[in-house]
Symmetry: C2
Subunit: 351 residues, 2 copies
């Protein structure tokens, strides 16, 4: 993503959310700044990138990790201080120097936190073919979080009918889908979330068998024993820390833990220590981390499954849409205190 | 295991190591007491147990866990205060009320820390058929630790030729075998141990490619980076705690961690917290605990593999044999400070 002012050609305002500097501790809105940049809408001769108009931006927990200075090779590079944040989004192609994309195409993938972006890294961009569903869905249920839920549950957990499934951050973009996949498979499903409203959503909208507000539980071990007197077969891990320690004590023998995220840890300078790993042995637990990028090749198959589920109303989906790029920093910060209800999206432009 | 004094029949002295009371913190010799009990060598009419003369007893790290009061269901029951310790051993059958065992048979399995035991729980006892190898081997390379090494490496790690393998507590009963299995498979193998003598043993006797004394490393992360500049494919976990945290930072993508034991934690009232679990995600790590009992059904197959290895000298094996039941408490305590060099065994009786 680059911004350049070119005088005498078609140069327009390009509002941007700038990453000010590396962050330590909890992310604050003031770690980001909204500025008015400019952009030339036409690509330079010979470029094989694309120019896009951003429509929706996605707030995803992993973004906090890109705000810490990363030393050495890592899954993600750090954001560049002084440049716009980048993240998943939905955009319309305005100009293209690449044969796979043409003006007018809708795409989802990594773009900038700005009104318009020049994208030169096209690997991992998907063309949107199905527009009978809301476009914002491609930041969530039909995008990276949706595919994460799908592979993290079906591929990592090897679920079976009748198993006991626990999901943390269960009303979030990934959790709400995992719970519904588990119900479709005939599992018993309980989720944790951080407010009464979210707990109600889990039980009433998403069909979870039960749900609880972890903020109201002094003793997470006791809470889990109440909801899973027979133990947990599958834990879909989104939060880490104290919840993981409590879950380890409540896993059944040969249980599986799919490690998708550890959002409770991302704003801590030192992660909390997890103490109950001895349970991995006693309970013969299989714990596996995964990264959704490894499964991009099954995205077409995933769409074939998900689109009918959505069209037929078999899977519900709740988004929390903030309006305007200016609301982006607050929306992103809110993710780490659980302010959002459902998938947090930022609407940049209605076409 | 029970002891009874019966007057007027064949009653003999039965020296025993008594578990005095539940232990907190580091195990001390004074947590056990050697006493002279007595035992009637003949089974009561109608019993389907066996009476055995114990020949070798095994000191195994998990035994410390049985010295803590266990609440609720667990893999192991706690030892009973006032009664002898129990553990793996090799014994000769003196009397049998069970059709599967007859007087004169040699067995290995769970017996008492005493000269003679009455065993009524016969599940998990194996008859020893091959006596061209030292009988003590059935407490180690041909017993529970050997089978643990075998399944923990081959079944849990899915090793491939050329992979980078790290083993902690590498000169112990399990570690020394895992390293040799990995070398036989064509892996690059490094082990950690707690003394120069052990490090030499790993390199010279067991054929490890390299080894280091973890007690001399201030920075385990830096040490691992030195021995594995390209990272670790397989970690065979015997110790836990700080070593696990350092290993997580040095795993390669799609690495596997076989969790066999966490001996560094067994004497702590609160386990150390492991902080680097985020690596499970970034590196797509598969971490799996296992319990050897689940694999007892493959013991015959295991023997078919191991006996030729031993007879042909393809696998080396080092034992640390303490003489006499009186030396049992010190031998067991020494296990947790790493005093033993190789598999710790207690010789109870030469026949």
């Amino acid at each position: 993503m680059a911004t350049s002012v070119v005088v005498g050609e078609e140069v327009i305002r390009n509002k941007q959310v700038i990453f000010k500097d590396y962050v330590s501790g909890f992310l604050k809105e003031s770690d980001m700044q909204v500025i008015n940049g400019t952009l030339k809408l036409k690509l330079p001769e010979g470029s094989n990138g694309i120019v896009v108009k951003n429509l929706y931006l996605s707030c995803d927990p992993y973004m906090r990790n890109r705000m810490t200075r990363v030393e050495g090779p890592n899954l993600f590079s750090s954001f560049t201080p002084g440049s716009p944040l980048t993240g998943f989004g939905v955009a319309r192609v305005l100009d293209s120097g690449h044969p796979n994309f043409k003006k007018g195409d809708l795409i989802w993938g990594t773009t900038g936190w700005e009104e318009y972006s020049v994208i030169t890294e096209l690997e991992g961009l998907f063309k949107i073919q199905h527009t009978d569903v809301p476009l914002s869905y491609y930041t969530g249920i039909l995008g990276m979080p949706g595919l994460s839920a799908y592979v993290g549950f079906y591929e990592v957990c090897s679920p079976k009918k009748g198993e006991y499934v626990f999901i943390s951050a269960a009303s979030g973009a990934v959790g709400q889908l995992v719970g519904q996949f588990a119900k479709l498979m005939g599992c018993y499903v309980v989720g944790s979330a951080g407010s009464k409203e979210k707990v109600d959503l889990l039980k009433r909208k998403f069909g979870f068998d039960d749900a609880f507000n972890y903020k109201e539980e002094n003793d997470l071990d006791a809470a889990l024993k109440r909801y899973f007197p027979e133990g947990i077969d599958i834990y879909f891990e989104n939060v880490g820390g104290k919840m993981l320690d409590a879950v380890l004590l409540n896993m059944k023998d040969h249980g599986r833990i799919s490690v998708c995220g550890l959002v409770s840890q991302y704003n801590l300078d030192q992660p909390e220590g997890v103490q109950n790993l001895m349970c991995l042995i006693y309970k013969r637990i299989h714990m596996k981390g995964f990264v959704v990028f490894d499964y991009y090749n099954i995205y077409p198959k995933f769409l074939d499954v998900m689109l009918p589920y959505i069209r037929e109303g078999k899977i519900m989906y709740v988004e929390d849409i903030a309006e305007g790029l200016e609301s982006g920093p607050a929306a992103l910060v809110g993710l780490y205190s659980g302010r959002n209800v459902g998938k947090q999206v930022v609407l940049i432009a209605r076409e």
